[in-house]
């Protein structure tokens, strides 16, 4: 699991937590594990094909604004999400399409949100960066780096206040580890023993800035030590390792001990769909491609006899069909009516709430000046 060739010494992977060494022999694998791994693969492929369809939707001008994809992070997403109960809460950042789908939100509604339609998870108000679904306890993708971290901490505070047994998982990018809100939140969570698992998805690039250039301590999980928060780093290209680590993190959180998990992964493409990532060398691009978690996991499942070429093709076809269905659904979903512009001004109606359109005057236009000053 510690793939040091991959990180080329830039981001050393941890020596700790490598229980997989015992369990690589397929002969020992249980049926349940096999089923789980197949599900991991199907989910990873679904995210892959969904994101590729989203990228295409962007080039087709069906999606506007920013669009950050989980390509390369599929193993991290499925591994993390499988550790949560349905009743647990997830706060995440703006690279969250895959998380939404893995929280069992209908991919149709995720794509409809990207297309800005009424059936979108946030009814077209949020877009790529701001997916939200209370039913599935996705409490938001957030566009401000670090913005979700205090919120997630407060959600954990609310659980603790009520004595609930849910936990909060809060994912973030590597750049977030340098934001003040991250440090303030970890400190609060540790002081108050909150049921929260913080997860840094370290894809080794904050936009075009490497972790080494941005973080004086590039082994980001070590930041937990400053707050006496247990932490570890895991290879984010392996869904099984991620799932095991996430399970440890979630168990700790459920016991009232916040946890910091660093998941080292890769970003297959640019920061967003419009970023050609010219700051990456040809060698790096080639290496990242070689490490593609969907391909490597497929090879592994084939090698272990869980899948053959036909099985791979079938899973791919299903994922592609699902992504295409999401596109068709989203495209057919209605655009919001402009008359709904003020529907979400306030949760509690209030006097003098402004519902003025840009060209409208505040008051009826003044009458033409006539000399009758007196009434």
């Amino acid at each position: 699991m510690t793939d040091n060739t991959r990180t080329k010494g830039k981001a050393p992977t941890p020596k700790a937590a490598s229980p997989n060494a015992k369990r690589t022999k397929s002969a020992e694998r249980t049926v349940a594990e096999g089923d789980r791994n197949l599900k991991f693969y199907r989910d990873m492929m679904l995210i892959r094909r969904f994101e590729e369809r989203a990228a295409r939707g962007y080039t087709e001008a069906l999606i506007g604004g920013y669009c950050h994809l989980n390509l390369g992070e599929e193993a991290a997403v499925v591994g993390l999400m499988c550790a949560l109960r349905e009743t647990d809460y997830l706060f995440t950042n703006y690279r969250e399409h895959g998380y939404a789908i893995m929280r069992s939100i209908d991919p149709n509604r995720v794509m409809a949100e990207l297309y800005g339609r009424v059936d979108g998870v946030s009814k077209g108000w949020g877009g790529s960066m701001h997916m939200f679904d209370l039913t599935h306890r996705l409490l938001g993708g957030y566009g401000i780096v670090g913005g979700q971290v205090p919120l997630a901490t407060g959600a954990a505070l609310a659980i603790d206040y009520r004595g609930g047994d849910e936990i909060v998982m809060c994912t973030m990018g590597d750049g977030t580890a340098n934001v003040g809100a991250f440090h303030e939140s970890l400190n609060l969570a540790a002081l108050w023993n909150l049921p929260i698992a913080y997860v840094i998805i370290n894809n080794r690039l904050g936009m075009g800035t490497t972790v080494e250039k941005a973080s004086a301590e590039p082994e980001l999980y070590k930041r937990g030590a400053a707050y006496r928060i247990a932490s570890e780093r895991v290879d984010g290209l392996d869904p099984i390792l991620v799932a095991e680590a996430a399970t440890r993190a979630v168990a700790s959180a459920r016991a009232g001990k916040p946890y910091l998990l660093e998941v080292v992964t890769e970003r297959l493409r640019g920061h967003s769909v419009v970023d050609p990532a010219k700051y990456r060398s040809a060698e790096e691009v080639a290496l990242v491609k070689e490490l593609d978690p969907v391909h490597t996991f497929a090879s592994r499942l084939v090698a272990e006899g869980l899948l053959d070429e036909q099985g791979l093709a079938r899973i791919d076809e299903e994922a592609t069909a699902r992504a295409n269905e999401a596109h068709a659904f989203a495209e057919a979903s209605a655009q919001p009516d402009p008359s709904t512009l003020f529907d979400y001004n306030y949760a509690t109606p209030v006097a003098n709430d402004s519902r003025r359109l840009p060209g409208e005057p505040l008051f009826e236009p003044a009458p033409r000046p006539v000399p009758e000053v007196d009434e």
Binding site: S122, G126, D133, L139, P150, E184, Y344, N345, V350, E375
Partner: protein, 339 residues
């Protein structure tokens, strides 16, 4: 009806709401063991315990954001930010999160949050501790901003803020904490988004909020007694939403207005009021709308300079007479008055 200070009205209301609703809890710096920098929360830790009265480290962004997150799950946090100056450290959480969450997610999550914080200069606290920056929040759709000037409104608007499902910035003022007034015994919330005509009059409209609404009332009473002036006083009470109708109705009656504000003049709350009056009562004005506002400097520490920077009662009196002079000249020129 009881006579009490603005401070006592806040304290008693917080306590009553905590007794009424288990979901209401207090969070902020020094509110528990220290009993609050301005003692609004005195005695509440002893009565309710650490779960309901949560002392925090000095981390405005962290604890304000945590309160927002707790509100998203249905609790009703009342945050105390020691002074409004420190709210700048939580600006991202308030503006980018509290104010956005309801709309940005298509109405799926409410944020029933109150941020109590005092503004105000005049205490020799220097440049970073004497600001009135409520405008920053009043500017933002999704926020509600209220600014009571009397003990009665402190109670009624705090009741409204706590029971409201939106984030409310509740502006207090250092100079008002010890002011006294009648407070009704019943717990009827005041409507957010409504100004109050606190004194009816015909000669000129005087508009203020928070401390300057208090000053407006005092000046109006003094000038009624000394000069027989009949001044109409409007206390805005709510900065967002802004009750323009009440302002316009008054100016249509008095034909002149002076706006009092403790913030800086350029781009300030008074600018919005003056523009609104221009929009809604242009043809009724007999003089330009006059603004009395703080001098545009970082607040000096030394008393002489601090006093010079803050609007005084004399400044208000002068602005009223200069405006009335302009009204008189204009009416003379036209040859008749309005009434």
């Amino acid at each position: 009806m009881s006579i009490m200070t603005y401070r006592q009205a806040l304290h008693d209301t917080l306590r009553a709401e905590m007794l009424r609703d288990e979901n209401v809890f207090l969070i902020g710096e020094e509110i528990g063991v220290f009993e609050g920098s301005y003692k609004i929360t005195a005695g509440l830790l002893a009565e309710f315990g650490e779960r309901r009265v949560r002392d925090t480290p000095i981390a405005e962004e962290g604890f304000t954001g945590a309160a927002i997150g707790a509100a998203m799950l249905g609790l009703r946090p009342v945050v105390e930010i020691m002074t409004i100056n420190f709210s700048l450290l939580a600006l991202d959480q308030i503006v980018n999160h509290a104010a956005k969450i309801y709309g940005m997610f298509g109405g799926q999550a409410k944020v029933p949050l109150v941020i109590r914080t005092p503004g105000g200069g005049g205490q020799q606290l220097g440049a970073t501790h004497s600001q009135n920056i409520e405008l920053y929040y009043a500017f933002v759709p999704g926020m509600k901003v209220v600014a009571p000037s009397t003990p009665a409104d402190a109670k009624a608007l705090l009741l409204a803020a706590i029971r409201d499902d939106d984030p409310v910035l509740f502006l207090e003022n250092l100079a008002l904490y010890n002011t006294k007034g009648e407070v009704p015994d019943d717990d009827t919330p005041a409507p957010i988004g409504k100004a109050a005509v606190t004194r009816a009059g015909r000669d000129i409209t005087l508009i203020g909020y928070s401390r300057m609404a208090y000053v407006a009332s005092k000046v109006a009473e003094e000038l009624a007694e000394s000069d027989g002036l009949d001044i109409e006083v409007i206390d805005l009470r709510s900065l967002r939403p802004l009750d323009r109708e009440t302002l316009i109705a008054s100016v249509k009656k008095t034909h002149a207005a002076v706006v009092l504000e403790d913030d800086w003049l350029t781009y300030g709350i008074g600018a919005e009021i003056a523009a609104s009056i221009s929009d809604g009562a242009f043809d009724y004005l007999d003089a330009p709308v006059r603004r009395v506002a703080m001098a545009e400097v970082p607040m000096p520490y030394t008393k002489v300079l601090e006093t010079a920077a803050l609007p005084s009662n004399d400044d208000v009196v002068n602005a009223i007479y200069q405006t009335l002079d302009a009204v008189g000249q204009r009416r003379q020129k036209v040859g008749q008055g309005h009434d």
